[in-house]
């Protein structure tokens, strides 16, 4: 079990990367939320495993926090939001999906080549995960850039946060608990506010297309 642990963590890392990639190629909002939920679950599994192997009970707390927030609460809230706003289907992307995926591959190559020399020097258990975490963050950025609707952008933001937490957990073996709590609270409040925003945007423009926000300027 202990011997296989680094490989298992790499496996979860790959799973998280694959889910990030699946997210940028996904058109439907409902599937996007489901993919995000699975990504959260993979993150929880990786944290628990790392906590068990390195004997850090802190990581269990962090995993529990992720579980409650990212696997249960936020997906539930997002499902509620899209049901209320009736935006279960979303086909709008600014660049078409195949191009987005090609850009995604370029980002993955970029972040891997950036992280490869670093991971060779690294002594921590899953040094190779740094490249994957970086790729996840960049892919989530890409998703936020290429989607024109508000809900996928929020999911992109949350997925980016997943990548950051994963990087912090695997590379440094966990952040101080107070930072962890702070980030969790930030994300929670952020999502709540963004949820309210989505309702407001919708009420104002009858659509969630954020292009409408450009007309808010005062002349």
């Amino acid at each position: 079990m202990i011997k296989l642990a680094p490989q298992l963590i790499n496996l979860f890392a790959t799973l998280i990367l694959m889910l990030s990639f699946a997210m940028i190629s996904q058109r439907r909002v409902v599937s996007l939320i489901n993919l995000f939920t699975i990504q959260g679950a993979a993150l929880v599994a990786a944290s628990v495993l790392l906590g068990y192997v390195t004997n850090q009970p802190d990581l269990y707390v962090s995993a529990a926090l992720t579980l409650v927030l990212k696997v249960v609460f936020i997906p539930w809230m997002l499902h509620r939001v899209i049901r209320k706003l009736n935006v279960r289907w979303d086909v709008d992307t600014l660049i078409n999906i195949p191009t987005t995926m090609l850009v995604g591959i370029a980002l993955v190559i970029f972040s891997f080549s950036l992280a490869l020399p670093i991971s060779r020097l690294s002594t921590s258990m899953a040094g190779g995960s740094l490249g994957i975490a970086l790729a996840c963050v960049l892919l989530a950025f890409l998703m936020m850039i290429t989607r024109s609707k508000a809900v996928p952008q929020v999911i992109g933001f949350l997925s980016m946060e997943n990548g950051l937490i994963f990087a912090a957990t695997t590379v440094t073996n966990g952040m101080p608990m107070i930072v962890e709590f702070g980030i969790a609270l930030d994300v929670l409040v952020g999502v709540l506010i963004l949820g309210v925003f989505m309702f407001q945007i919708r009420e104002k423009f009858d659509s969630l297309d954020i292009h409408n926000l450009e007309t808010l300027k005062e002349d």
Partner: protein, 316 residues
């Protein structure tokens, strides 16, 4: 070359021929069950083959010699393909004949000939099916190659037997790249075997059909051979998948006991795989033909990610 090697080669070929229709029957049965229909018998594909072999083969008036040759060529390609895939044992005398790249080439050869035959008679459906098949094929092939390269990067060889030997008989290690490659492979094999998200294997009466449109003009023993070749292809793909991603139970050279054990293990693995295939086909809806390039592009890029992960994590 040992007698045992010859025996295992012979067993692999006979088993592919016998079990391929059985696998198709099994998948069809489970699909019918999952869709709340009354299921056809497990032996239905054999009955269909028997019926077709006993029927007269009707040829179109303008059919050339190519049209008559193609069923034999396609059947031969699929038979050779299933002979070089290590299903029961990695001790296959025929395996130096073709490595993973040549295997993809064999599938391509069969595809080219079946498309030529479809266009040969000159019906609208035939050329329509041939064009779609080529559209699917030219995207599926590189993805399949990338998946196979993922596995060969781990074993540092493109020979299928060496790959499976390395994966099956080394101490247990988890290869994250194979996870990604496995997903890509599942997508490619759905497309290549004319399964539901890409094509519907059930119907001859749909404007969106691909595989069925190409063999519409065939009848009698020619059709029987093509149907058999199609189930051999499904069998071959399932066996590649099982050999790469679940390689346990494949016998090594000079291990007669393991060879005996390999058969029931393979049957169990195929049975589980068949149920999964039926499940995927039931749960997904057929996609628009213009979404297929996107679907296969995703498979290709996932396989590329597998290669990259392999380089980054450097396991093996």
């Amino acid at each position: 070359m040992s007698w045992l090697g010859l025996l295992s080669q012979l067993m692999a070929i006979v088993m592919a021929l016998v079990m391929a229709p059985l696998l198709s029957g099994w998948v069809n049965q489970w699909r019918a069950r999952l869709q709340n229909k009354s299921a056809p018998g497990l032996l239905q594909p054999y009955r269909v083959l028997h019926k077709l072999f006993n029927k007269e083969s009707v040829l179109a008036e303008h059919a050339s010699a190519l049209f008559r040759m193609v069923p034999y060529i396609v059947f031969g390609c699929m038979l050779l393909a299933s002979a070089i895939i290590p299903t029961l044992s990695t001790d296959l005398p025929l395996s130096p004949a073709a490595d993973a790249i040549a295997l993809v080439g064999l599938f391509a050869l069969a595809r080219v000939f079946i498309s030529l035959a479809a266009m040969d008679v000159g019906t609208a459906f035939g050329s329509l099916g041939a064009r779609r098949e080529m559209l699917v094929g030219f995207l599926a092939e590189p993805a399949l190659l990338m998946v196979l390269f993922c596995a060969s990067m781990i074993s540092r060889s493109t020979s299928l037997t060496t790959i499976v030997e390395t994966l099956a008989h080394r101490e247990l290690a988890i290869y994250p790249s194979l996870l990604v490659a496995g997903v890509a492979f599942a997508m490619v094999s759905l497309a290549e075997n004319a399964r539901v998200p890409v094509d519907n294997p059930d119907t001859h009466l749909e404007l969106t059909m691909i595989h069925e449109a190409m063999i519409l003009e065939y009848s009698g023993r020619h059709l029987a051979l093509l149907e058999w070749a199609a189930s051999l292809k499904l069998f071959a793909y399932s066996c590649i998948g099982l050999a790469l991603f679940f390689p346990w139970g494949v016998a090594e050279a000079n291990a007669p006991l393991a060879l005996l054990l390999a058969l029931p293990v393979l049957i169990i693995k195929l049975a589980i795989g068949g149920v999964f295939l039926a499940l995927i086909e039931t749960l997904s809806a057929k996609m628009r033909i213009f979404r297929v390039p996107e679907f296969l592009g995703t498979a290709f890029l996932l396989a590329v990610i597998g290669l990259l992960v392999n380089i980054l994590l450097g396991v093996g």
